[in-house]
């Protein structure tokens, strides 16, 4: 029976003309070329970043990473204020967003997996991710900033309005969808047998979630946090408009600061010394490496989780 199919296929394949076979191999080669193109692209990005950072690496050495001074006049550059700014905004945003992301994941994954209300929430979350960041920044500048300013004046803090806190707030809203949608998928993947076993033992819904669902999805939810973090670290426009653009280590949560991405956006086109431009690109290199590592770790955890 299989022999017959084999012969059938062989005869039909043999009937292909030489030019058709040539097109076939051309096409297969083209597919390979496109994939290699991607490899070249990513390698190219890394190489360009490294090569353009070299003047700064040579001039400033490793001390660049903890240098606290960013002084274009005297050509002293230190990335520390921006590392702090980036980490501070990202982690504050993460902390603010986690309760909401988890709540959405649990709601959509456990309590209400289908139906109009569930779809409404799911669509809302996806739309939040779809809104361009420039619009978040623009809206934040005109609505969030005055609100924060009034808040600051009430508590006798300098009424900047813009600063680390405001930037973190808008960032939190923007990154909720990433952990939320991943979390939803994971929570739904919890085997019903585990949950039903717990219910059979008399557990309440809350107890099932707390002692079965959450531990089971722990590593996956952690991956979701990593993905949200990766997004937060690289976010540029909304943060640039709301963070205050001050190249000093922020003195408090409500002080202005700068992130690696925002200082690049602000000063790239005006960097007039070679070392200045190179220092900015070195920031880009650091940003690239950090976000790539975090994203890859997150993705690895997810594949391992979904394959188990």
């Amino acid at each position: 029976m299989y022999k017959k199919i084999e012969i059938f296929v062989k005869n039909n394949r043999q009937s292909l003309s030489a030019s058709q076979l040539k097109w076939e191999s051309f096409f297969k080669g083209l597919l390979k070329v496109m994939s290699i193109l991607l490899l070249i692209l990513v390698t190219g990005v890394l190489i360009t970043l490294i090569v353009q950072s070299l003047p700064s690496i040579k001039a400033l050495g490793i001390g660049y990473l903890w240098g606290k001074v960013w002084d274009p006049v005297q050509n002293i550059y230190g990335a520390y204020p921006f590392l702090i700014g980036t980490l501070l905004t990202s982690f504050v945003a993460l902390i603010i967003s986690i309760p909401f992301s988890y709540a959405i994941a649990i709601y959509l994954g456990e309590y209400n997996t289908s139906g109009w209300l569930s779809n409404l929430l799911k669509n809302t979350v996806e739309l939040i991710a779809a809104v361009p960041s420039i619009i978040y920044g623009f809206w934040g500048l005109f609505v969030l900033v005055p609100l924060v300013r009034t808040f600051e004046m009430k508590f006798h803090i300098a009424p900047y309005g813009i600063g680390i806190f405001t930037a973190s707030l808008i960032l939190a809203v923007m990154i909720i969808p990433y952990a939320a949608s991943l979390g939803t998928t994971l929570v739904r993947m919890v085997p019903s047998s585990l949950k039903e076993g717990a219910f059979a033992l008399g557990a309440t819904r809350y107890e099932v979630i707390r002692s079965v669902v959450l531990p089971y999805t722990r590593s996956g939810l952690f991956a979701g946090i990593l993905l949200s973090l990766g997004r937060a670290l690289g976010e540029t426009m909304a943060v640039t408009m709301l963070i205050g653009n001050t190249s000093a280590v922020p003195t408090s949560l409500f002080a202005p600061g700068n992130t690696m991405a925002s200082v690049i956006a602000n000063e790239f086109t005006e960097a007039d010394h070679t070392v200045y431009l190179s220092a900015l690109i070195e920031l880009g290199l650091v940003l690239f490496l950090v976000t790539v590592v975090i994203n890859l770790i997150g993705k690895r955890i997810i594949t391992r989780f979904t394959n188990n």
């Binding site: 274009p72 900047y160 000063e267 960097a271 007039d272």
Partner: protein, 349 residues
């Protein structure tokens, strides 16, 4: 499927066709400029008028530092800066450039103090101390001393400076360096300095925006920006001890100096008794030898003609926007410099 494929091909063909047609035609009649935000309101008006001649000018106000960089990278036809090229910038460009003065302008100290609508009187030392972070509230003794009768509230001063490389910053820090020894030692003068305190705004637009929206804020912008946005500005004490209001007259008074042949001069802290102490020229910068990167003679001529227009007919736009126009002798110096522009060694004008 066929539809999609043919659509794709159509789009590609259309893009290529349009691209080549339009780039061929648009190639030689749009000049690119970048640089100072200081001069932007004036340029914006002049170039809008100049477009009637058929030559369009695309000027991006990315800051003086940015303008010089783009000129060095040869991605623009001309740059504009409120500070002449420093040594390292000149070295990086490597070949001679021409600085052509365009106009002079005043950098004003603008502020947003709820309840205070009259003009404050400030002197240079106090301004520097505010920007050093040493004077932190509006009702500080030093400020009150010069402003008796003004109801200064107990409000923290929110310092605003430029976050990008700026000639306006250069003018401002140049002045502060001259009037405050501590500023000279700690910060110095440049287009981008290590600001001790304060928020950064991008461009004069950013600074004006921040000051306008933040109670207690103080910032420095061109007179044109403050006027356009109905923002209050201070009378600053000049070298002669008088508190001078930044106006067209006081700007012109301080820029009424003898220009050296290369036109590079600093006007801050002027000795002129009725001059406003924070003023400066702004210069358009072009390559002396215009045949680089395969530029056509036509393009070089258009550029030089544009700048010639700026120093002659364009000057009438200065006064309404409160920029000081070039004095007759300044125009002569500018003409001479512009005539040094060459194409393949031969003078263009």
């Amino acid at each position: 499927m066929k539809l999609i494929k043919s659509l794709k091909i159509a789009v590609v063909a259309a893009a290529v066709a349009t691209g080549s047609i339009m780039s061929a035609s648009a190639q030689d009649n749009t000049l690119l400029g970048a640089g100072s935000t200081f001069i932007y309101p004036l340029f914006s008006k002049i170039f809008a008028d100049y477009a009637k001649t058929g030559v369009k000018v695309n000027y991006q106000s990315i800051g003086s530092g940015g303008g010089i960089l783009q000129l060095t990278n040869k991605t623009v036809d001309f740059g504009d800066s409120d500070a002449p090229l420093n040594e390292e910038q000149a070295k990086k460009i490597g070949v001679p450039v021409l600085h052509i003065p365009m106009a002079s302008g005043a950098v004003v100290i603008t502020y947003n103090i709820p309840g205070v609508s009259s003009a404050l009187k400030l002197n240079g030392k106090i301004i520097a101390d505010i920007y050093l972070g040493k004077v932190t509230t509006w009702n500080a003794a030093e400020i009150k001393a010069d402003n008796k009768g003004v109801n200064l509230p107990d409000l923290p001063i929110v310092v605003v400076h430029r976050s990008d490389g700026s000639g306006t910053s250069f003018i401002f820090t140049d002045y502060l360096t001259k009037v405050n020894g501590e500023w000279e030692k700690r910060v110095g003068r440049a287009t981008a300095v290590n600001w001790p305190v304060g928020l950064g705004g991008k461009g004069s637009e950013g600074v004006a925006g921040l000051v306008k929206q933040t109670p207690g804020a103080i910032g420095y912008v061109e007179l044109a920006y403050a006027k356009q946005n109905h923002m209050p500005y201070a009378f600053v004490q000049n070298k002669a001890g008088k508190f001078i209001e930044p106006t067209l007259a006081s700007t012109t008074a301080s820029s009424n100096v003898e220009l050296p042949a290369d036109s590079k001069v600093s006007l801050t802290n002027t000795a002129n008794a009725s001059g406003y102490p924070i003023t400066s020229f702004t210069w358009a910068i072009i390559y002396k030898e215009q045949n680089y990167n395969g530029r056509s003679k036509e393009r070089a001529t258009q550029l030089v003609k544009l700048l010639w227009y700026n120093i002659h007919e364009g000057q009438k736009e200065c006064a309404p926007l409160n920029y000081g126009s070039l004095s007759k002798s300044a125009v002569k110096v500018a003409e001479k410099i512009l005539k040094e522009a060459t194409y393949n060694g031969k003078a263009i004008l």
